[in-house]
């Protein structure tokens, strides 16, 4: 009796090859998914950061019965939300170092403002240059990637004054000192449909260091402006007036106060009820403005 196929059960070579090919296809499909899982984890970490910031702002509100101001002085140069909530983020020592009667660019505050605070940095956001560069980033301020939402209008706005009768105050949950102060009861649109904070990024490849103030970096790419300690509108007091999630500045510095992120297609936004949401960059702009205002009276549908 000839030995051969009949007597031995098992796989043929072709079957084995097919199985290997299928496994290869599955791995090829899976590997990109693994990379996306990493990004997904970073995005979740980013939303956790925002939730921590939201919790800190709520705790601040419990202590002072109002929200922290986006800027405590009309010159927009002293301190803002992210300095005010430091003690509620376990950063009490940094808070103690901060002299709030001096500006964030005052050398006295150097130790405080140069602290990199993990909760203020989105893990997805890369830094394409070292931040801070000593001598260029004034007072060596550490970067941040989050900003407060001051509404849907001009972030510099205040109540009308004789010098500027058409000025419009901030209409978001967080406002600057020239626009009064806000607390939970001012959120007549509902805390679940009002933005509290959102993301910023260091992603403007066409944003260069200016000639003034003169620094050794003038003319080089600056990438961004968001220092957590700065209350300046281009740093941490954003609005939805400009484009949502812009990728470049195009010669218009007001775009520095647009919410933007390094995540693909979405921006993480924190609502006043303490929840963080991924907002698509293709969101209808009227809906976005409704979410940015605290008392616009708009009916906000699903988002």
């Amino acid at each position: 009796m000839p030995r051969g196929r009949k007597s031995r059960p098992g796989f043929t070579l072709i079957e084995l090859l097919v199985v290997i090919a299928i496994i290869a296809v599955l791995i090829a499909l899976l590997l990109p998914a693994v990379q996306q899982a990493r990004e997904s984890a970073r995005r979740t970490q980013c939303s956790n950061n925002l939730k921590q910031i939201g919790l800190a702002i709520h705790n601040y509100h419990d202590s002072y019965t109002r929200f922290p101001l986006s800027s405590i002085d009309p010159g927009l140069g002293k301190s803002g939300v992210f300095a005010s909530i430091l003690p509620y983020l376990d950063q009490g020592n940094t808070y103690q170092q901060y002299n709030f009667s001096l500006g964030n660019t005052d050398p006295t505050n150097l130790i405080a403002v140069s602290q990199k605070i993990p909760a203020y940095l989105c893990p997805t956001a890369p830094f394409r240059r070292p931040v801070p560069i000593s001598g260029c980033d004034s007072n060596s301020r550490a970067p941040g990637t989050y900003a407060a939402c001051t509404g849907s209008l001009d972030p510099y706005g205040t109540f009308p004054t004789t010098a500027n009768p058409t000025s419009v105050p901030n209409n978001g949950a967080i406002v600057n000192s020239g626009s009064g102060s806000t607390s939970m009861r001012d959120l007549t649109d509902g805390s679940s449909s009002t933005f509290l904070c959102g993301e910023s990024a260091w992603n403007f490849g066409d944003y260069l260091w200016g000639a003034m103030p003169a620094t050794p970096c003038s003319g080089q790419v600056r990438w961004g402006f968001t220092y957590w300690s700065s209350p300046y509108p281009l740093a941490t007091a954003f609005t939805t007036a400009g484009p949502f999630n812009p990728k470049s500045m195009q010669g218009d510095s007001s775009r520095l106060s647009s919410f933007r992120s390094e995540h693909i297609g979405v921006v993480n936004m924190l609502l006043c009820d303490g929840s963080a949401r991924y907002i698509s960059e293709n969101i209808d702009h009227n809906l976005l403005n409704s979410l940015a205002t605290r008392s616009g009276g708009e009916v906000v549908g699903d988002f």
Partner: protein, 171 residues
């Protein structure tokens, strides 16, 4: 006599098929794997796109002069939905491409002049100084273009997916 293998008729790739008929089995197997690959490719390529945008460009006249530095914003209204499109106006001209242009449908247009306060807007120290000099009032000068063209804009244009891609405004 040995009983026939139980699943040999199903000819599934991962069931050991022995003896007769495995040639046909592997053939089917090959087609199945090719089919699987094709299905994966088709399913995997589906991406989500935003609303359709249109490349638009044009000129802006303010008081019969070219608007030197400004900003033009198209915001969808009245049933058309989508993100806003913002372009910088330089020496009277603006230019959108299909990636950042306005969405198809009715759009509200807002035109602002970028005012030069005498210092770069990203110069915080200069802003703080100017604010101190003015006694703590807003430093930025008033918008020269009247509010009916920006804050309370009544300018509405219909952006069609094809046809006129040139929109000029005279304020």
């Amino acid at each position: 006599m040995r009983p026939p293998p139980q699943f040999s008729n199903l000819r599934m790739c991962w069931v050991p098929v022995s003896g007769e008929g495995d040639m046909a089995g592997t053939l089917q197997c090959r087609w199945a794997s090719i089919g699987l690959l094709a299905v994966c490719c088709v399913v995997g390529c589906g991406g989500s796109k935003g609303p359709q945008r249109v490349a638009v460009r044009g000129a802006i006249l303010f008081n019969n002069e070219m608007l030197k530095a400004g900003r033009i914003t198209f915001t969808p209204i009245d049933g058309s939905k989508g993100p806003t499109a913002v372009a910088t106006v330089t020496d009277g001209f603006y230019d959108f491409n299909v990636l950042n242009g306005p969405v198809v449908g009715k759009n509200k247009v807002q035109i602002e002049s970028i005012i030069d306060p005498g210092f770069a807007m990203d110069d915080e120290a200069a802003y703080a100084k100017a604010s101190q000099e003015k006694g703590g009032v807003p430093v930025l000068p008033q918008q020269p273009i009247p509010p009916e063209f920006n804050q309370q804009s009544k300018l509405v244009v219909e952006v069609s997916p094809d046809g006129e891609k040139k929109l000029d405004f005279s304020l």
